[in-house]
């Protein structure tokens, strides 16, 4: 069981690290699809099937498409499609900062006494989730729907406003 978790963790961490360090944006996006699939595999491993399928539908299906379209729409014809050279000093500083955060988090996770579960979590079936979403969490569900609607309208307004109509290199 832990062996499977280690394999999933290796897939998740390796794909994320390589995606964040590649120069080619398209390759980064495709590796992040692998990363999100690894996260979905983790959810399956942990017994949260509904969240795993939601992850596949939303991240692998929708967010990756949005990211790929944004990359293609904002790509320059010139060779600096990778966003130009990142400064070395900033990379070193970022690695130092994230390394410090990683050390702190790992130390805290390893040193904290985490009481073991008395009994494994009861399985959350889709029926239970639906009853819970429609019952105790109905207000939150409505608010999330409002957030999604407002975000969609805002995204359309932001991305579709045409300020100078005769744009020579409109995407």
């Amino acid at each position: 069981m832990s062996f499977l978790l280690v394999i999933i963790a290796l897939v998740i961490l390796a794909s994320a690290a390589v995606a964040m360090s590649l120069r080619n944006l398209i390759h980064s996006a495709l590796l992040l699809v692998a990363n999100w699939l690894g996260v979905a595999a983790f959810y399956l491993w942990a017994g949260a099937e509904f969240v795993a399928f939601a992850q596949v539908l939303i991240y692998v299906g929708a967010v990756s498409m949005i990211v790929l379209f944004a990359m293609l729409l904002t790509r320059r014809a010139r060779a600096d499609a990778a966003g130009g050279a990142d400064s070395g000093g900033r990379t070193v500083a970022a690695l130092l900062a994230s390394g410090a955060v990683a050390g702190t988090l790992a130390f805290a996770a390893l040193q904290t006494h985490l009481p073991a579960a008395a009994s494994p979590a009861p399985p959350a079936t889709v029926r239970d989730l639906g009853a819970s979403l429609m019952g105790p969490h109905a207000a939150a569900l409505v608010i999330v729907g409002m957030i999604l609607t407002v975000a969609l309208l805002g995204a359309v307004i932001l991305a579709a406003t045409e300020r100078n109509p005769p744009e020579d290199d409109a995407p």
Partner: protein, 103 residues
């Protein structure tokens, strides 16, 4: 090492990879993707504590992750629309040059 600690280490690693990417890259889309990685790490923690935590409740962790994914999807849509707006304004999406909000 308990499975809960393994899960916490995994999510710490994923969070820090995302943090390094968000801090070091100058491409706005990659910064957004780093933030998405950090959100995914938080979701991993929710599921890990739901599954292996000392007081397993019925489905609180799963509900929380569902709402978190919904908010993250909205954030990705607005963020990438902003990236496209910046690109239309200054013809590239390098964050060093996106220093003005004025249109």
């Amino acid at each position: 090492m308990s499975p809960l600690q393994l899960c916490l280490l995994l999510s710490s690693g994923l969070f820090c990879v995302g943090l390094a990417g968000a801090l070091s890259r100058s491409n706005a889309i990659l910064v957004l993707l780093g933030i998405e990685l950090m959100l995914n790490a938080a979701n991993l923690n929710f599921i890990a504590f739901w599954r292996f935590g000392p007081a397993p409740s019925a489905d609180t962790g799963v509900i929380f992750v569902i709402f978190s994914i919904a908010v993250a999807a909205a954030e990705a849509a607005v963020g990438l629309a902003l990236v496209i707006a910046i690109y239309r304004h200054q013809k590239n999406i390098r964050l060093q040059e996106a220093s003005r909000l004025k249109g």
